[in-house]
Amino acid sequence: MAAGPASHGGLRRAQRPHLSKMERMVVSMQDPDQGVKMRSQRLLITVIPHAVTGNDIMEWLIHKYCITEEEALHLGTLLVRHGYLYPLRDPCHLELRLDETPYRFQTPYFWMSTLWPAAELDYAIYLAKKNIRKRGGLFDHEKEHYDQLHRKISHTWDLVVMQAREQLWAAKQRRKGDRLVIACQEQTYWLVNRPPPGVPSVLEQGPERNSCTAGRVQMPTGPFQTKTVDFYRREVECLRKALGRARVKSSVCLEAYLKFSSQRGPHDPIMSGCLPSNPWVTDNDTYWAMNAPSAAVPTRLRVEQWAFSFRELLEDPVGRAHFMDFLSKEFSGEKPPPRLPARAPPPRFPPAWGGPDPVPGPPAENLSFWEACEELRHGGQAQVPALVDAVYQQFLAPGAARWVNIDSRTMERTLVGLGRPHRHVLDDAQLHIYMLMKKDSYPRFLKSDLYKDLLAEAVVPPKTKRRVFPFMRKPRHSSPSPALLPASASREPSGGDGEA
């Protein structure tokens, strides 16, 4: 072979750790004591030593890695497809046959990690050899390549033919067995590196990675690339902060997973199934209809999920609507009066619950405020100033129609920030209100009659009866695409003209 290991072999290898793992695997397969049973294989009148059969390979894999036959066959096939094993008979197809077909381990010289990328010159020589040996014996795709190469390197074609002839002559000097083996090795190498049409190439890696030079720069002093000062400064900064971080004991964190998984298990359709049935399995989409975002009567599992966390209650439009309902019905007179803000409290028009003492707005305003802040945070950049202003006028300004009660420190910080409105200017206030609802209104909601009634009225769909004739496929209903529905509040922020 004319070429040696490729120059970018090293760079690409780093992207393919699976190759070194396969190599370690085949090396241990060839271990004299622990490896695959090897035997001599008789091929016509030649005897080839150190051959193994597909079954031997599979048995070894099953035993060594404690895997099933199916997995062992799959793994063995991958080894063959990557050229680490080659068949001595019918070497045109790289697959693992479970008959008496003998296989041998590819010589490391031809390993993908050693000799890659395959050199064009070498391929030309290989094809030329094949052409000389078997006149017109090239496959169609090989003929195409041959012609292409001939055109491309026509100026050195004499060299190609000469090399081919020399290699053929050298091969004739060898014993028949060796000649056969070398031919098979070479053929396998080219099957891997120049697969015939229809056979997926195992060489394909996708677009090149690591070509980016993020944080790297060509140093004026030498050819090596190294990371910039900025990159390391940033890393050091990040590490310093990380050191000061508060951590939680592993036992506490891991217990939380157990609790989470056991709580959610019944809600996980893949783990526990779903009622009436999984649409993908039965082709019946009732499950989706019953759990639609705006379903009139929510299912029991759905209502139960609102008790798992405040976030999940708010994420469910039906849950949120019921929570809003609950908040509206609550009178803040039931709560102990909250701490009054430092400045004069805003006058309320009209005083909905009488009495001269100024009281903050009903808890429902908290949720509305939170929703408005969400719109701001996730809305379009162009809408930010208008939205900030709208939220301030409605919820925070003295005399605001739907005033929310924020502690004075947060309010001061927020008001300062409002001088230069950006999408995160209300984050502090939003978090404060969120926590207020989470710690106060949410637990009360879960204990309320409203919630208990919802649980009691919730639907538990019956399981779909098994179809008697399972091969009769139900027609699958199509559903209207969300893109067809009229614009809803979820899509666009409605803050264009200042209205929340």
């Binding site: 939680v248 997973y257 976030r311």
Partner: protein, 363 residues
């Protein structure tokens, strides 16, 4: 960057060694509170029984490798993108194709469905992320309404809408992530810190909704504060490129899949890696990971054409699924957890002129 060569070399070397020593100290600190392993805690948990997942839908229509897919919030529609530039929107329940767009570039490695279901985003070797509003109007060409939102200096590897259609988060081969305003294309925040290509990202399901995690070719998984652009936490235990990251449903942890043939679980409160999902017989990289709804199962697609299902708590492999004829490039569980979809590089040769590629939905 300092222009004084000698000074810079000194600073660079000392910074580098400072970083190394800080990393060592960090590992020590992290180890201090590590009092138990996950599989030990999970001994009390009942083992999972045999469960069967089969291909329920095969979506054929891409002519070339499927690189990425995403579910619509309606739990049945998906968008998928491929090497030849085709981006297709399917109702995967009926297997009908609803929209198709051909991008001007090949290797569309990222695609995402907007939360409203009214638009999709995609990008790849064009270094951009473009948003296409979905229209059923036969007279309208989808490509005509295309909006170019993100501009990177290298390929786009991942993209995701945040809580609304108005913002997009992108990851790129140029080593950065970025947050963009869709309407104007304005860069809202950029995230620097990876030392090589960023390959994946996932938004945290948290109450404040302000963080996301990214993984890259520098073997690091980094958690970012979306507001400040700062890296909040970083983990560097993988031995090769991190191809996929996905949050655990509670938001307290995330899983990663890497070319080192392992998937790992990192806990954010404990601030460390808490589990490795690996097997000696699995030697090809994991390209794509996702959790089942309860977080008990981790589905991982691999470059050896298989999908392995892991018991997240016990650390053992529950099942191996053979269904593809080439590497699995993308895998996502549906929003309601009833199924997952896998996309791969495979194609089935029908006749000499036909090549079909499959996306499969499993349940």
């Amino acid at each position: 960057m300092a222009t004084d060569g000698l000074h810079e070399n000194e600073t660079l070397a000392s910074l580098k060694s400072e970083a190394e020593s800080l990393k060592g100290k960090l590992e020590e600190e992290r180890a201090k509170l590590h009092d138990v392993e996950l599989h030990q805690v999970a001994e009390r948990v009942e083992a999972l029984g045999q469960f069967v997942m089969k291909t329920r839908r095969t979506l054929k229509g891409h002519g070339n490798k499927v690189l990425c897919m995403d579910w619509c919030k309606d739990k049945r529609r998906i968008v998928s993108s491929s090497q030849d530039g085709k981006v297709i929107v399917w109702d995967s329940f009926t297997t009908n194709k609803e929209h198709a767009v051909t991008m001007p570039c090949t290797w569309v490695m990222a695609c995402a469905y907007a939360p409203s279901g009214c638009a999709i985003a995609c990008g790849g070797l064009d270094n951009k992320c473009s948003v296409y509003p979905l229209t059923f109007d036969k007279n309208e060409n989808m490509a005509a309404k295309k909006k170019s939102v993100a501009m990177h200096t290298n390929y786009l590897s991942a993209c995701s809408f945040t809580n609304s259609d108005m913002q997009i988060l992108t990851a790129s081969g140029d080593g950065t992530c970025a947050l963009w305003d869709v309407e104007s294309g304005q860069l809202l925040q950029s995230f620097h810190g990876h030392g090589a290509d960023v390959l994946c990202l996932d938004l945290a399901p948290s109450e404040t909704g302000n963080t996301f995690v990214s993984g890259g070719c520098d073997k690091k998984a980094m958690v970012w504060d979306m507001r400040s652009g700062q890296c909040v936490q970083a983990f560097e235990t993988h031995e090769s490129d991190i191809n996929s990251v996905r949050y655990y449903p509670s938001g307290d942890a995330f899983a990663s899949g890497s070319d080192d043939a392992t998937c790992r679980l990192y806990d954010l409160r404990a601030d460390r890696e808490v589990a490795i999902y690996s097997k000696e017989s699995i030697i090809f990289g994991a390209s794509s990971v996702d959790f089942s709804l309860s977080g008990r199962l981790l589905f991982a697609g691999y470059n050896d054409y298989t999908i392995n299902v892991w018991d997240v708590l016990k650390g053992s492999r529950v099942s191996i699924l053979f269904g593809h004829e080439n590497r699995v490039s993308t895998l996502r569980v549906s929003p309601d957890g009833t199924a997952f979809c896998s996309g791969s590089w495979d194609h089935t040769l029908r006749t000499k002129n036909y090549l079909f590629v499959s996306l499969q939905v499993w349940a």
